[in-house]
Structures are given as C-alpha cells and as structure tokens.
Subunit: 418 residues, 2 copies
Amino acid sequence: MTAMTREQCLALDQEDPLRRLRDQFALPQGVIYLDGNSLGARPRSAAARAAEVVSEEWGTGLIRSWNTAGWFELPQRLGNMLAPLIGAGEDEVVVTDTTSSNLFKVLAAALRVQQTRDPKRKVIVSEASNFPTDLYIAQGLADLLQQGYSLRLVNAPEEIDAAVDADTAVLMLTHVNYKTGEMLDMASVTEMAHARGALTVWDLAHSAGAVPVALKASGADYAVGCTYKYLNGGPGSPAFLWVAPSLRDAFWQPLSGWWGHAAPFAMEPGYRPREGVARFLCGTQPIASLAMVECGLDIYAQTDMAVLRAKSLMLTDLFIALVETRCAAHPLELVTPRAHARRGSHVSFAHPDGFAVVQALIERGVIGDYREPRIARFGFTPLYTSFTEVWDAVEILRDVLDSGTYKAERHQTRGLVT
Amino acid sequence: MTAMTREQCLALDQEDPLRRLRDQFALPQGVIYLDGNSLGARPRSAAARAAEVVSEEWGTGLIRSWNTAGWFELPQRLGNMLAPLIGAGEDEVVVTDTTSSNLFKVLAAALRVQQTRDPKRKVIVSEASNFPTDLYIAQGLADLLQQGYSLRLVNAPEEIDAAVDADTAVLMLTHVNYKTGEMLDMASVTEMAHARGALTVWDLAHSAGAVPVALKASGADYAVGCTYKYLNGGPGSPAFLWVAPSLRDAFWQPLSGWWGHAAPFAMEPGYRPREGVARFLCGTQPIASLAMVECGLDIYAQTDMAVLRAKSLMLTDLFIALVETRCAAHPLELVTPRAHARRGSHVSFAHPDGFAVVQALIERGVIGDYREPRIARFGFTPLYTSFTEVWDAVEILRDVLDSGTYKAERHQTRGLVT
C-alpha cells in the first residue's frame, strides 16, 4: 500500500473507519503530532474529568470520596477496562504505580517463584537495547538481593535464544523496542523460555493500545506497561501490571503496602496479601492522574485492536514508502523492520544528524523525537494520526533535509522523555 | 486556654492571624472538616492549576512540556518548597512516588549503609502501633533480603529505648502516631539510636505541615512523608523523601529508575545515580497530581510553622477541654497526650461505640474518622479549622451522644483511608 499523492491520502482519511475518533482528542493547531508513543494526546473528556475530580470529588466529597466516588476501586476498574487490549481477563490487571515500580514487583515475584522451583536459577536475561529503566530496575533488584543474582544482556533479538539456559530465572523483554520499533513474537519466545524452565516478564510500554497483545494466549507469565503513551492517560499517569492467573495466588512481592492488604482498614501490624491481582497494589495512588486514565480507555472501548492494527500498518507503510521515495537523496536508513509481523506502531530512521533533524522538524511543527544514537523516531497512533498528516510530515522532512538548515542546530544529549 | 462559650470562640477567630488563609480553601457548605490529617482540603487554586496542566501543558504542549512546563524539575522544585516546613535544606528533598515506595528506598539504603559499617546489624526496630503500611514495607524488604533480616516491634514508646541494641540496623518510627496523636522527641530518640550505632528513619505523614519538624537539627538520617494530609496536595498526591546530606552521596537504593540516572536521556544500559537527592527518583511521575502539590505549599509559604503550631495547640486544647466538660456524662477517654510536647495536631478519644459515633457525626456534617479499636479521631488543621467549628463540632458530638441514635449504626471494619 503506497499512496503517492496528497489527494490519495485525503481519500484514505475519508474512508478511515477511525476518523470520528480523532474528534475526541484535543490536538493543538499547527502541529503534526508523531510522538504519541512517548506522551499520548489529550482526550477532550480529560479536562472535564480532571475538573470533576478536583472540584467535586476532592473539594466537596473530601475523604468520603474514597467510597462515594469509587477511588478505592479505581485501580481494578481501570484494569478491567484495559484488559481486553492486552489479551488479559477480568480481574487480572491493576492500574497503579509506575512501570519501574511494577517491574520491580513482578521481577521480585518471578525470582521468588524460581527460588522455590529451581534455586540455582539466578540470571535475568534481557536485551542491552531494552528500555534503560527496565535494565536499571533489574540491576537494582539484583544488587539488593546479592546472593549471586545477575543480569545477562544480549545485543540483538537473534541472540536471545542462545542466552536462555539452565541458570536463567527470568527472560525480561520489551515487546516492542522503544528505539527500533521491532516487535518480538511473544508466543514463540515464551514457549522457548518455558521449555528451558525460565519465566517471562514483558514490558508492554510500546504495545498496549498500539498492537494486538495476547498475554494469556501467548502463555506469558508477567507483564507491565504504561498508560500515558498510546493509551492517552495523561503525563505520567499510573502504569499497569498483569500476572498469569496460575502464578497469581502464589504471588509474593516486596512492595507490600496497605492497598494490597487483605484487610486494608483493619490496621493490622502484619501483612496479609489480598486475594487476586489486588495484592500487587502498594501505596496510595495519585487519584487525579489515575482517574484520567479512564478517558483514554473510553475511546478504545469504541473500536478494537484489529481495526487499529490495520490502520497502524497502513500509516507506517505509508511513512516508510514516502520517506524512501521523496527523501531518497538523503542519508536516511530505516531501522524499523519492514515485515509487518516484526513492526510495532512507530518507525525509526537513522540519520547522521538525527538530533538536529528532529529539532528542525519540531520547529516546523512536526513533533517526533530523537533517541541516541542518530535515531529520528516517529510514532503513529491510529486513533488520531491521519494519512494526510503523514504526507505533510514527510514533505516537511524533505524540505528540512533539502534546505540543510538543520545543520545549524547544536547536538545536545538532553532530550525529551521515552 | 479554655474558651467556654461560643462567643469566646468567635472572638478567637476574629483575632486569628491565620484567618485570611482559610479563604484560600474551597470548603464545602454544611461540613465541619476534622479529617485534614487524612485528606487535606482543596486549595482554591488547585482547580485552575489542574486545568492548566491538563488543557495547556498536556493538551497543547504535549511532549514539549517536559522541558517547557518544567515537568522534569517538579520533584526537586516542590521538594525545595517543602524543605523549610521539615527543617531540611535546599536540594535535600524530592516529591515523588508514594510514602510506601519511598520508605522502601530509604530502608534499603539504610540497611546497605549498615552492611558496610557493621554487617551483624540486621534488625529494624519499630512500634507495633506504627502506621501499618510502614510495617508491611519493612516486612516485605526483610522477606526479600532474607539473610536474617527481621523486624522487632515494641508495644509502647517507652519500650523503644530497651529495644535498640547492638543488632539494630535501623530505628523506623512515625514522628506523630496516626492513631494516638502522640509525638516523639525526634532529637533525643535519634541521639539514643546513634549512640547505639543505629540509623533513624522517620515517617512524617502526620507531622509535615502539622508540627514544626527539625530534621537536620535533630540529626535524623532519613525521612519520608505525605503531601495529601496537612499539606493539602490532593488525593494521593506524591510523597516526599529526605536524606541527611552526610549519607546522601553514599546513597544506594534498589528502585533505580530512569529519573534517578546521572544522564537520564543518554539511554545507557548501566545505571549511574544522579548527584544529590535526585538519585532517589525512580519512574515517571503523575504530573497532574504532582503539580497540584504546589497549591498547598503556596499557602504554607504565607505563614510559618511557629504560628501554625501555636494555633494547632489552641485548637486541640480547646477540643479536649470542651469534650471533657460538655460531654462529661459519656464514656469518652482521651487517648492523645495532654502534654504539648508530646501532642501532634490531631486528637483521639476512645469510646465503646467509636465507629457508630463517628458515623453519626459524619451524617451530621462533622467529618472525623474512626480507627480500630474504638478510636474516634479528629484532625485540626490550623490553616483552615476555626475555633467556632471546634465549638460546634463538640456540640454536635454532645447531641449525638445524648440522643443515643448512633447505637443504631452497625459496626463495619470497612472505613476511610489513613
């Protein structure tokens, strides 16, 4: 599929079954936003929801709102809304804390399971190109545990298979790589890990709401992810966490705070975990930020991941084709896999002056982002990105590259976030 | 000081130097709110701030707001605003994560320091009546570490001294007890702990903004606390964390996420901590909830803790005197210390039907809360509680008790939060 004129892109937008959902987002004028994989756009309804939480639930309801406004149930209620997007079941997901904290919980839980099953397994296998905070958390946990726990990093997805051995406790992977946009085959990787006695932990930060995910069908063990990227929950909105039902009731995690207690208001001095996924909860959640997660999920409830995936692939195919034809004179190298089965919903091109090119694009209103080294990254969020925007973004990219003005930009490592 | 008529209370309100600050809060009609120690009231400015974050910073600024709206600096900027209230210095406090997570970080850090200094120290000493989540977190950490780490709980403050011995790694205490309102002497307890080689971790949940706290002057080692109680940051607003400068640069903590990395945007696979207190940061914070913390701190910047403490003691003295005189016919027993030096800013009375009495009060618009067993708890927040409200609350309490209607209320353990 390659539309080679702007008119053809306009026609694709006219036929787009998701077109009406774009109107539910408040997108700023003069901007082509290709960074929804870093911070999703704002659902229009979020403004009213925030006002309701602040003025009514907090201001008027005060402490009573823990019950009357349903604050206490929010992590599970939102988890149930999110579950269908990632192939999880009812009462299997909670929205809480940060992705980093949740990863710490599930890694600790997985290592504890292995300590029971096969105590010699003390290695966490991951990719060196995994999102750095995931690696930092695994390092922090291994350092805390001491007793020989360690991290083993491979340099490419092809090396994962050889790295999982009889010492491996956990295979910790990000489903869609934040930098390259490469998607792993969750089912086959999980099958390989299980065959060798390892458990799997999946980070769905760049998958949830972007590509169909089948956690249960894939046999995965644990997953964490983010609600502020494709799910449009708002800046820093709380993350989510899933665990396979078969592992859940054996679940132990060290961040054992009051919200995960079996009797949270009995104020017992000893910890007893709640039944089910709620035992993953820890401390008091930021209600205003948490409540707005619902606004993004409400929009997802109006479509399904198959429709979204179809449009996502059309958008990324179009972007790749247009860049490779209309910007062919410039040294842009596609980093993201061409094969649909291995591609998420963002596309990365390497360019020798990647940082400067991205800065020049942002000044022209095309917001993508830069990732070390040399990578210009563009996210395509099928809920609100139009085909015409893809066309216009590539034309601006071409103009920036042809003009050479980006070369005046100074390289800085300080950039924008994930 | 005992005002024995409503007219005298009105006069005290007229003379109150904090009177004008009450107008900066949006308090609901028909409610006497004595639960600001659980969830603080809403600053009027919070509605506009939330709208700004959601509509402008998120909606229009999108990913650019990490830099242009100062999101990246928020944890430290708010920490600097909070620091004077707790006797901490510039660049010593961050506002981030939950109290539970922060406690996990500082406990792990303290145990690591002790592992270097004196590895046989593996006991965390605390009070059985400490806020339960603090105990749960300590249990979770000890369970995670294994290797003989354990928790030792005492049943009364008088037993703390005898419990701190040559095996003690950390003395973990809440400065003002959530249930009794008893305040510990931070300086003398810390001095005792240090003389025996133990480090101190202080939970300031019921202290910050309620009583003067002198962390540095007391020689304390670590502190965590809450911004959604007296500090009026909003429901579940992120917590804070302080560490003594002498321990900070040796600081290691296992929740090592991207925001605490020395070069958070360089995307290095290996963790390197940032300089200073920012190494306590972990994952991406809930910006809407975090930003509103500033609204409460803005009000504190207009007064000081000495003025607030003077009014707090007048309010709690008045409440105790009125309850003990006007409700003398009823079996109410003061739980909170009478001595000013040992009293925080809330007052608890035990009553055989405590739960039912509190429910009946809430139905009459007097919002306090109930804590197991039998305790009716009333918070007095000098920024907005008036002397006349204290009078009126006691009159309603007397009426409830005299009428006996509360006895129809059924006891339930499900209650309101912290």
